[in-house]
Symmetry: C5
Subunit: 363 residues, 5 copies
């Protein structure tokens, strides 16, 4: 039984928010997501091959000073509802307002924009929550000369692997610059997509088993939900391939040749993800087809039972009906063995029918 | 129940108008829309970072003088049925006749044409009227050195946001030229598409609920209408993506580098709209599939009821028929408990059948 | 009722003609169409901004002299069955034999070929005959320095608009050269496609109404015919888009920059035609889907009637059968009100069934 | 009835041959076809504008001497099973071994390879055998400085047209070089595809008629066979388009500018063939759809007959059953006209039912 | 009966392994496959046109010395579970860590990466195991100046053909360098794909026969499995085409012009494989369609039997029911030949029905 709700959390009404946004000037930084407004938390991890430190900052000036730090800084802003703070931060780092608008626009599709002096990217982080539901989370990153500025809606553990590698002194990441950090975060996001794909695969296999075992209408509904989910995930993931490829072709001095080798690897992974999603899409279409064919089989089986029952007993009932007639002159009725003869005829008819249906392979 | 009419207003007969047009010389400016002929209204908004003023003009000379105004002018022509006026206006601004033909051709698909000294664009404005119907409206814009000439069929509020931003002294738009105004208007049109998409999404969700709750033939009809509507909207919106991208690549001096950053944003939005429409298309196809699968389920259910009733009572009726025969020699008829035995046999048969159907999961 | 035959005139047998052609040398000028052989008529319209004259010529020398005429000449050859005449004419104008072969090959798909000194185009003219059938007609045009040579199978009125514009002194066409004439003829052909599309649209709407009102097998046949017709029209029209675009990109001195602006307009129209055809194709596929869904609905309805009748009366007949048995010991038969009780039971059963089916929404 | 076998001759087992080939060194010349091994026949036709002669040669030296002949030679090798002879011939003409491998590999897909000094092409010749079956035949051609070397499996008449043109003194082919001969042969192959397409078209029309007249299961099978055949033919023909286009773009000195004009014509034809095949593919899919819809119609008709019969006679039988009961107290039984009243009720019921079904359009 | 399991070996659970990998630094060499950890075996075959020798080595130093050998070396590493050994080997040959990561990543899709001084490729080797199941095996190759380094999971016989050709003194491979060896191995892999395709083809033909002979639900399941398998194989094979084409376009000095001619041949083969897979995909879709149409046919047949039985005997039973009524005044009952007349009527009705159904082609 597929009782568990498949994947996507419930649709939220956001009509009014879109209406709000329409008509606003482009570059207006306004939060459209569903999180409650709260203060942003800022964690900064600074490291070079010698040392690492992670601090939480509240004051803008403290954060801005990292621009001058020769070490690599990962400035992680958690919570993007406090639009005014984001705007000030952006001005502090001399970031374009359009960029800030996209950074807090939770509906923004994945994108990479190159500006003079920095590269900006928006990605969808997909992860599984405690109910194994697939949750999309908006994420924005700015690669600057020696720091990466990351905007997240909530703190989550997708980046924990990167954190661990930074903290371990031997990690290659320690001896490389901000562009490698940018890549490492992107790579963590893409790696996470594989977990989501696995979850989808798991669901496809479950539904496959159900389609064969017990194709209830509920299963058709589940398949449609799955198809919809694959469509949505594909939409979130699909652009990543092209974005990474554009990063590789970029002539920006911010990305070193070395890091491009790693990006090529990330490109490989995103190609693979897209192919896998394509296959899942075709599989879910096959599932529906299989469901319909099983429905059709069941109908056939039902019809056979009906036809067998009706074809056997309707003629027999007719014979019984004949000898239930009340004509005064019906010679058979007086025959001594008339009744037994009729029974014999009926049994023969019954056997004949059974043989006929057996031959037709309906039994 | 989906009683409310889905979306598109009724088809208008326009055969004769097309026939009229066929055979006319290219560049013949003639109005083919369905609006009654009336005088055009011309509103001109002139602004720079210091001041704004909006005036209504009736005399052509007054309008043409804005060409020499150093400030940015938004010349909004409302009503395009007065073809002679449009032609004179076009000659006043030295515009190509082909352009004027497209400006008043309400069937013209979205396009961007670059001429020496001006850029011309046609777009479909989609908005929701008071009945929440999706209404396409023809719209043409000419970007000139320091003015934007806009042709509209009727005055509507899609551009109100832009108007407000011009009127508020702090608006960024005030300090930028005609190219930014051109972009801002285009952006307002694209933003409006999102409202239309939301409306479509809403309808898909309504139909989804109906398909599961009560898949009446009417629902199939509604789904087909939806598919048709998505097809049409897609046709109106689809070219926008490429047009914006061509604007970005344009080498015309009319569009400053700065404005291109904003256009890049508009491109992002039109890409997103196209992807969303694609998803809606697939969803509406899924809806039909789901409808068919639900129909098939219902048929199965009907057939099961028939089969169960027939399979249980036809054999029982046969037994009753046997003992309704009038043979003189039917020993069972004289048995004291014959009647009760027959009842017993019937009840056993009934129970057996029920168990059989229960096992087959038909009950 | 769709009694009227949908669109395409009857298939003609042309197997033997193809066989004739196979094996012939390339460049062999031979007529493969279905028209009876007859003499070609040649009408020449010569004009400049001052004067126009139209003459019919029979002698080859008279026609060839127009090559030296400084005015623009439109040499219209009507009837392409007289292959020898066409060949002599071609040699007179120094045209390549391959070109002549295509000019009279009524199966040739639309094409544009640039030769040194002239540009050659083949197009399909689609027009509606007196029965509103869509008739494809082969048409070839050669653009030379100051004349356009047109080959047509029959004289028709698609070019009447162009003729009128040439005859009216004020027409822009009068002051422009042969390349504009070439464009104007091409534009007339493309404009005519819109009439054909309208006809198709009309048929789609008729079929849509029938599918909902009365989905008879005949309607399915009509839909298939429509799909086939759209396929064929698409094949004739589809290449035009690319051909016009190639003309625009052509570096031939025969086409002036000015005329290219007009060609851009023609390109727009052919793009629109292709998009519309695409939509019609999807609509006709939707029609078939809708037809199938309506068939399925009807089947469901039929099955429900059967199930209701059988489910109500089979059990009742069983009860009647019970008391039709001839056992000697059947106490109920002696009961005074037995008969009425049985009736009561039957009526109750009947009502119960009705309520059950009502609840299931089958009534 | 479609009794005649549709198209493709029976599948041959060739598993073992493939296994043989796998593991062999590339460039190993080995025959994989199904023809019996036999000696190759070599016919050489030499011609210039003055004279033609055709000779059969057995000795390799005789054949190789044509390399020095200033006239154009068409060296036609019939039978490619004698691999050793082919290899020696190839070495004599200094041909690459990879080329020879492809020349005798009957599974090789169509290809054009340019080598220094010669151009090599493999094509599939499709022709209709005496049973009107479509037979694919492997064919390879090498264009050298002044000769064309042709490898064929069997001698057939596809090239007869070319032979005739060479033999007739006035033929244009006589005054042109080996590249024109190469083109002429290619053109003959492509022309022949049209005959195959006609055959397919004929089959589609036959099946169309059958689908409407008598949609037996056999017809569905025939449609599937047709689809499969179109798939296969498409695969053989599809690459030709690109190959011809590559020949046109080739910078090889072997192909003169003049001949490219003719190749452009061949390109046109191959484009048309591909489009036609695409249409046939969609038509065959439509056929299946139509078949399914006709099946569905038939089912509907069957169900209606059943429902009408059952709905009319089951209630009537119930009434008869009522008065067949043996209750002692059934007042109606004693009524004088009871029997006639019952008949009247039955007739009314019958008429009522008929009217009901008439109204539902089921009769 | 298709009892034999179709193709793919059972899915292995590898969720936990993916989770392990997610979060690891890129370039971390870790084995993710399902083989038990074991020591790698290294076989080195060294050859030039004079001599060949094959040795098994255990010590790293022995293997590394082949870098300086002027002869061509094929270094075959069998078993990639011993990650530490692979890493040391890689460092010995100065290979990038990312490369090593991919070399042991059994989920890596096919790829070609060019590095300075070497070219790296990953491919899927598909072969048939003893149960005729299609087994994908991960394979990586590094082309270096004069050696090819091959990583395999298990030793298999796909490369036996290459081995034989190296061992036979006359083999062309002996006189060519490492790039030809690289090509020969790649060619062996691609050739092997043909065997897999043949297997698929065989299964399609088996299923085709079953669909026509006996379309059981099991067959639908088999068809779905086949579709899934084709999808998967396509995914493994699809990239090869592009990779080979990239090798041909590569400007790396490692690949000589000569070898590119051979690569062009391999490209041809991979194109053909892709086309064949595409055809198989469409064929498997046709199979499902055919299955559904056969199901529909069977249903029709079942319904016809039911309808014929019911339509014949329900009216007859009704007549018998009439004369089973117990009215006192039923004149027919007293008629001397009443009984025989009723029989006659019944027989006539029966014959009439039979004729009717015969005419409808239901018998």
């Amino acid at each position: 039984m597929v009782k568990r709700k498949i994947g996507l959390p419930k649709r939220k009404k956001k009509v009014s928010r879109v209406r709000e946004k329409v008509g606003a000037a482009p570059g207006t930084v306004s939060y459209l997501g569903t999180k409650e407004k709260s203060e942003s938390l800022v964690f900064v991890t600074t490291y070079d091959s010698e040392e690492v430190e992670t601090k939480e900052h509240k004051r803008l000036e403290d954060i801005l000073q990292y621009q001058k730090d020769p070490r690599t800084s990962w400035i992680n802003v958690i919570g993007i509802t406090d639009v005014r703070f984001i705007e000030e931060l952006g001005q502090g780092f001399a970031l374009n307002n359009l960029l800030l608008e996209d950074a807090v626009d939770t509906d923004q599709r994945a994108k990479i924009d190159e500006y003079d002096g920095y590269i900006f990217g928006v990605f969808k982080m997909l992860y599984l929550n405690e109910n194994d539901e697939i949750v999309p989370e908006h994420m924005a990153m700015v690669l600057m000369a020696n720091s990466v500025l990351v905007f997240q809606e909530v703190k989550d553990d997708v980046f924990n692997g990167v954190r661990n590698r930074i903290n371990s002194k031997s990690g290659r990441i320690r001896s490389r610059g901000a562009d490698y950090l940018f890549f490492a975060l992107l790579d963590a996001i893409i790696d996470n997509y594989f977990l989501v794909l696995e979850q989808i695969n798991h669901r496809i296999e479950l539904l496959e088993d159900e389609v064969y075992a017990d194709p209830k209408p509920e299963v058709a509904h589940q398949i449609q939900l799955l198809k919809k989910e694959v469509l949505k995930i594909r939409r979130w993931i699909f652009p990543v391939k092209e974005l990474v490829s554009r990063l590789i072709d970029s002539e920006s001095p911010l990305i070193k040749h070395d890091t491009k080798l790693f990006l090529r690897d990330a490109l490989d992974h995103s190609l693979e993800i897209n192919e896998t999603l394509q296959i899942y899409r075709e599989m879910s279409m096959s599932l529906m087809e299989m469901y319909m064919s099983n429905m059709s089989n069941k109908m056939n089986e039902v019809m056979k039972v009906l036809t067998i029952m009706a074809s056997i007993f309707i003629p027999l009932t007719f014979i019984a009906g004949i000898y239930g007639m009340n004509f005064e002159h019906m010679p058979e009725l007086q025959y001594k063995y008339g009744y037994y003869v009729v029974w014999a005829v009926m049994v023969l008819l019954f056997i004949g029918m059974m043989v006929y249906f057996k031959r037709k392979d309906w039994l």
